[in-house]
Symmetry: none
Subunit: 416 residues, 2 copies
């Protein structure tokens, strides 16, 4: 049987006053999802483990059956992946900021005033120069992130992530030299490369036309890149390699760079249909059309990701979150109907995002599973609260795919 | 926000007839704890994992976020720690008994009749001799435990815990030679050291005045020390090093040697206030005063340990346990009031101790967490039974601190 896993990013929430002390999921009129609740079973899931606040990257790894405590290489590589980089094991990546320094290399603004004017141009020009050079045999690439952010990727042999930041993390301090954090020659070399790169970047940016334009407009010059949070890409298992799960051809539908990157990394074929935006204004209908097409094709597992729920929570808009859930529910019914219910469906979030706190929270997320033949529970609506009474109890993110592939009757017995 | 973790040792229990088929926790009139239950949320916790009977040492390690399956070095080192030893990684420790042997080295009584007459004196005299000697470069120290027990600590380079016991575990058998359990030269050396030590101890004790006095009083001579359960101390992570938890300065209040030792080991500053006894007659009020002082000082996490509950259970006194819980509840209310509720509080036990069986049991223990801003559940009393309905579900000991530090808004997100 085919399997569909729907993740509404940051789905679960806290009760909010403007929704009558309900959560957006509780308040939503979502007749299809509630119908599925009455046909299936629910439970609640700690994406990582109880009390741990998940990021979207770590929680998606977990939901794909990969323990982030073992495999997560740190934020540097995942910021790069989120900005479109394709990383190989051994690559080292840093989180980076365009920033402003004075003539003494003192950081006067860690985010170049958060003004992104001209930064696209700078990244393009830096990359076309970097493309022609190397630093002691190490190639460097930049990936533009949101606002002032830029991921810095080092590729080469014998790199290390055991090096300190150049970012002083405070304004009024000098740009730091990166230092090796151990005696490994690879750490010594990597720190040297980063320091050479930093000097070169500063020289390159100081005279750049974009910075003259920025100053003319009254903006701070973006005359350095500060790096922090080095991480080395590891070999991460592919979803098709999980023992006993027998996933043969998985597809993912998402418009969010970070999630697309994670999906690619673990072996999904990634689809970004036209009109999918990774926001509240995404074409839900088009994503659902794509899911139907892929499920009818050669794919045995389709992962369908919606970001709108999370965006609404980060913006403190629980009502918009509720309405987004309602739209997704109504569109999802088409998949169920298309297969006459002969399909396995999982619906969950990757973490709680509180619309009040506007941030991720550690509260477990509800999940709902449906298969035509399964142990149902007696619930008929899906929410954070009902999930605590669900027949599936409390599980961890890394278990979810096993539950689903078992319901799809695809999983092998472990042992004899 | 400050965090208080209260552990009532052996808190949870089984229903007992003399309390109307309630557990001591159910029977207790504990208005403050029940008020906290109505303001917070509860769940039930397997200190180690379901179906595993925890010791106080392993369960406290787990509650401090340290997986005992990875880090517990065996009972030898922890008995030594419980008797006041400060162990360093690489030290090897054994559990030991004062025992009685005849002239053929046959063990006639494994516990020297359980008579502790003069044993303090023997340990002092042995230690002052041992202090002047070494065995192939290995220093040996003894730590007096309860009754006939004495921990034997070896310090030196190249030791091993892969050696067999000298204790034959049965009376009527000869004292055994310790044998190396593998071919490692360190195991061979350690077994030799233990055998030399055993011969020396026997000679020293045979002629000792205390033993002439014991025999005169009609007691068995304590003329040998039998050792068992070798373990090598490991490097155990400190509680301030847990990733993302951001505990900066933790303090512990306890009067129980084993718990004080574990706390010191994982990086707590340990307080043993005057009047705290580690028993039912402890000055609960003084311990609570100390907790308030520490919480108002520079400590971000205060661990408050009470042993009375466990002692009462081991003595088969559920009613005394109930009354002890009542007193603790009433004193704890002062902490809540002192902070006007602006504090995170966790209350739990480290394991179940059955007042009927007078021993530890594997049943999960109830836990209660309170924070001024949190998801409450609908319970208004705290007990083994209610905790099964709690909003926190079933967790493991190693997760508890993550839940608490998250409620205190001190925890970092894992990932992006």
């Amino acid at each position: 049987m085919k399997t569909l896993l729907v993740v509404l990013d940051g789905l679960s929430d806290w009760p909010v006053g403007e929704l009558g002390n309900k959560t957006p999921l509780e308040a939503a009129e979502k007749s299809f999802i509630d119908r599925l609740a009455s046909l299936g079973a629910q439970g609640y899931m700690d994406p990582i483990s109880p009390g741990t606040i998940p990021g979207s990257d770590t929680s998606h790894l977990a939901i794909f059956g990969i323990d982030p405590r073992k495999y997560y290489p740190g934020r540097g590589p995942f910021e790069a992946i989120g900005s479109g980089a394709i990383l190989n094991p051994g690559d080292v990546a840093f989180r980076g900021n365009f920033a402003t320094v004075n003539e003494d290399m003192v950081v006067t603004n860690r985010r170049a005033g958060r003004i992104d004017f001209g930064l696209d141009q700078l990244v393009r020009d830096l990359n076309s120069e970097l493309n022609k050079m190397d630093f002691d045999g190490v190639r460097i690439e930049l990936y533009r992130g949101a606002e002032h952010r830029v991921a810095v990727v080092l590729r080469g042999h014998d790199l290390s992530y055991r090096v300190s930041d150049t970012d002083p993390h405070k304004e009024g301090l000098k740009v730091l030299s990166s230092r090796p954090l151990d005696n490994d020659p690879r750490s010594i070399k990597t720190a040297e490369v980063i320091n050479k790169f930093t000097s070169w970047v500063h020289r390159f940016l100081t005279d750049h036309k974009v910075n003259r334009d920025r100053v003319e407009h009254g903006y701070l010059p973006a005359n350095i890149i500060l790096v922090r949070g080095a991480g080395m890409m590891r070999k991460i298992p592919r979803i098709t390699e999980h023992e006993r799960l027998n996933i043969t051809r998985p597809a993912a539908i998402s418009a969010t760079s970070l999630i697309k990157g994670v999906c690619r990394l673990v072996g999904f074929e990634v689809y970004h249909p036209e009109g999918a935006t990774g926001g509240l204004n995404t074409r839900i209908d088009v994503k659902v059309d794509t899911a139907i097409k892929l499920l009818k094709g050669n794919y045995d597992l389709v992962f369908l990701h919606f970001k709108g729920t999370d965006s609404a929570s980060h913006d403190g808009k629980p009502d918009a979150k509720k309405r987004f859930i309602e739209k997704v529910s109504s569109e999802l019914s088409r998949i169920f109907d298309e297969f006459n219910g002969e399909i396995v469906i999982g619906i969950t979030g990757d973490h709680t995002t509180s619309s009040i706190r506007r941030e991720h929270a550690s509260d477990p997320v509800p999940f709902l599973v449906y298969a035509p033949r399964m142990f149902r529970d007696s619930l008929s609506t899906f929410s954070e609260r009902t999930s605590r009474q669900g027949g599936m109890g409390r599980i961890r993110g890394v278990d979810l795919l096993y539950l689903l592939m078992d319901l799809a009757e695809k999983q092998d017995k472990f042992g004899a």
